[in-house]
């Protein structure tokens, strides 16, 4: 009996011991919104990180689309169940920044873990966007993209356009689009995704004109939209005029227009660099060019601003968890991890070292278009007009823009009226959101 008792005791101790060691790894939850090939990247990175050390375990959880993930995170925070890391899309950046009590700046997380955060190693355009006006980095850039121009080489050939020379300015785009339509090479000349992100926010940065006061909202304090300036009005009036006879074709508010381009209906297309995967997959004979700029804008092209998403860390966690998060972010910054992320997903690398390594490997020689978005973002040091835009209610303001643009493209109002309405309605909404 005594022996049995002893054995049972040993067994119990052993079980206890083995369970404790299995549970020793601190779990770090990571909510994300990646699907398809990009979701595989998330899983692979997490698995590799978990295998590389034994103190922490990253647990990625898919939470739906970008807005759904943001909502899930907000609801979880309100219920006291927030995840450790959450992926938030560019538009939600202002929402997260306004919630200072809910989040912990990434710079603090890294420094708290005794790690030195060297900002100079990261791409300035991207880090600048995810930092406070005083330079404190708030979130970790995970997947960044930039809008570029795609064109269908077969349609260009048929229309008698130079297949090796994509249009560089918007006026050249309009001319090429008219030629495509008039020559019958395709039923439509030009289409675009995201009129808000590409034709308004990036239009401002790339042409170095103000989108809103207070450094486009990045400086904090009061913000008033400036998007009814003449350069915008001319640009949108040109779009509205081309929409009348179908030379420009509207696809929808987000990336629906990709289908129109893939179907071979339009010859020229502006879209995120992250959209490249589907175009490659379609087998189209495509070409890539820089995002066009406005030839009336002095100093253009300036630089484009990042889209995509970054990783936010929630507040109120234990030191041990923050150490784990810091270790994971350090791992993510490693050159080989960034190289993998960049080449596999089409998003931009976050560190200069990863960019240099990719360049040295000859990847850009084989895939020439892949460097375009990086060059666009890094070409010049960002000005106060080109660091990006930030509002606590950017989703709402984008909605207002989309509504007015749609009415304009349907011929119900001119570009001047549409943009005046955007400014008036947008400013009222911003004021209301800031008065919380």
């Amino acid at each position: 009996m005594r022996f049995h008792g002893f054995a049972a005791g040993v067994a119990a101790t052993l079980t206890l011991f083995s369970t404790t060691s299995a549970f020793a790894a601190t779990q770090i939850s990571w909510w994300h919104a990646m699907t398809g090939a990009n979701a595989e990247v998330v899983d692979k990175i997490s698995k590799d990180f978990n295998a590389s050390q034994s103190d922490y375990e990253i647990v990625p959880v898919f939470k739906g689309t970008y807005p759904e993930t943001l909502n899930a995170g907000i609801a979880a925070f309100r219920a006291g169940q927030s995840p450790d890391i959450m992926q938030v899309f560019d538009v939600g950046t202002g929402v997260m920044m306004a919630a200072e009590g809910a989040i912990k700046p990434v710079a603090e997380v890294l420094e708290g873990a005794g790690l030195k955060f060297d900002k100079s190693q990261y791409l300035p355009g991207i880090v600048g966007y995810y930092s406070k006006p005083d330079g404190t980095m708030l979130s970790f850039p995970y997947n960044s993209s930039s809008p570029i121009l795609y064109y269908n080489k077969d349609i260009f050939q048929k229309a008698g356009l130079d297949v090796n020379n994509p249009p560089k300015t918007w006026n050249e785009v309009w001319d090429a689009a008219k030629k495509i339509k008039a020559s019958g090479a395709a039923p439509c000349g030009y289409t675009s995704t995201w009129l808000t992100w590409i034709h308004t926010e990036n239009f401002a940065a790339w042409n170095n004109i103000s989108w809103a006061t207070g450094e486009n909202g990045l400086a904090g304090g009061e913000v008033e939209l400036k998007v009814n300036a003449p350069l915008y009005v001319n640009h949108f009036q040109a779009l509205a005029d081309l929409a009348k006879d179908g030379t420009f074709k509207y696809g929808g508010r987000t990336s629906e227009a990709k289908q129109i381009f893939l179907a071979g209906e339009c010859g020229i297309f502006t879209e995120s660099s992250g959209g490249l995967g589907d175009i490659v997959k379609s087998g189209m004979n495509y070409g890539i060019g820089q995002l066009p700029y406005d030839s009336d804008a002095p100093g253009a092209p300036q630089n484009t601003t990042p889209g995509g998403a970054s990783l936010w860390v929630f507040g109120g966690k234990s030191d041990e968890q923050y150490k784990g998060v810091a270790a994971f972010f350090t791992y993510l910054s490693k050159t080989e991890v960034q190289e993998y992320l960049h080449q596999k997903s089409g998003y931009l690398p976050v560190t200069l070292a990863a960019y240099e390594a990719t360049k040295a490997s000859g990847f850009y020689d084989k895939n020439p278009g892949r460097e375009t978005p990086i060059l666009q973002m890094m070409g010049k040091a960002p000005t106060e007009n080109s660091k990006g835009v930030r509002l606590p209610n950017l989703p709402q303001v984008r909605d207002i823009m989309n509504e007015e643009y749609e009415k304009m493209l349907a011929g119900q109002q001119t570009a001047q009226q549409a943009l005046d309405n955007v400014v008036q309605r947008g400013n009222a909404a911003i004021k209301d959101a800031m008065g919380n």
Partner: protein
């Protein structure tokens, strides 16, 4: 009048209804109370700063031209959906009555669309009518119709009404068939002997006798168009173009979950709650009494 039922046991009846009451409390009164409380708060999305503002959110919502617009959109959408769904269903029901062979098969096939989820129905119509890739959109364009629901508000409205009505036709069909069967054949035969033609018989005998069913369906269809069509609108138009198809329910979602203005969204849902209660009251007071289920 039904006779009054008297229970001898004073405790047991309460115990028996207790589970139902508990469910109602937890799943209806609690969230409804929360919505009411939220509708009087002005709060940031994370709930870090909140201020009790009494009825300010209601005042703001009701003074907002976008809200007035969505009331109009909802009225047009609901009436059009109810009208289309009911008239097509009535036509089909009358036709199905006259089928001699395979009546059962026709009826079964007619009921199928009811089993399709709203979001799926929306996707089906989106694919059929998408201006670039839609099968039917191509035919429309070939026929010389400038079909563009992405920019033309009227086209977009027609598209969501069609999708919403298509899904509801089956349900209406079922009730109209039952209503038609309850009409005595002798009445119709007598009218025929008196020399009344088919159209005359329908409008003077069948249609008036179907009135209770029609009224019942009108209430059900309006409620359906009001509250159960979110999935269709979300999938097909997302409220656009402009705000041409933004119904009251869609606006609650958009303001609350996309724009993250929780107070306004809650105030709108409280207003909707009042509308539902009113509709239900009408239904119970007038409709339930008059409809004979045979």
């Amino acid at each position: 009048m039904t006779p009054r039922v008297v229970f001898p046991n004073k405790v047991l009846p309460y115990l028996l209804v207790a589970p139902q009451l508990a469910i109602t409390l937890v799943f209806f009164y609690w969230p409804a109370g929360q919505a009411l409380y939220q509708s009087m708060l002005k709060e940031d999305p994370f709930g870090l700063k909140s201020k009790f503002v009494w009825f300010a959110n209601f005042e703001k919502v009701l003074a907002d031209p976008a809200y007035v617009n969505s009331i109009k959109v909802t009225a047009v959408f609901s009436l059009a959906t109810a009208l289309v769904a009911m008239s097509v269903a009535l036509l089909l029901a009358v036709m199905a009555e006259r089928v001699v062979r395979g009546k059962g098969l026709y009826r079964t096939l007619m009921i199928w669309p009811y089993a399709v989820a709203p979001a799926i129905a929306g996707m089906l119509f989106l694919f059929l009518f998408n201006p670039s890739i839609g099968t039917l959109a191509v035919l429309l364009r070939k026929a010389g119709i400038a079909w563009d629901p992405l920019l033309d508000g009227t086209d977009a409205m027609m598209l969501v009404v069609t999708a919403a009505a298509w899904k509801q036709i089956s349900y209406n069909f079922l009730f109209f068939v039952a209503g038609l069967q309850a009409i005595p054949k002798s009445l119709i035969e007598a009218a025929a002997i008196d020399g009344a033609g088919e159209t005359k018989r329908f409008w003077t005998i069948v249609f008036p006798l179907l009135a209770p069913t029609t009224f019942f369906l009108l209430v059900i269809n309006t409620t359906y168009a009001f509250f159960d069509t979110f999935g269709i609108i979300h999938a097909v138009t997302g409220g656009g173009p402009g705000k041409a198809t933004e119904t009251l329910v869609y606006k609650v979602y958009n303001d609350g979950f996309v724009n993250l203005i929780l107070g306004d969204s809650a105030a709108q849902s409280v207003i909707l709650m009042v509308i539902v209660i009113a509709l239900t009251a009408i239904q119970f007071r007038y409709v339930e009494r008059k409809v004979h289920y045979g």
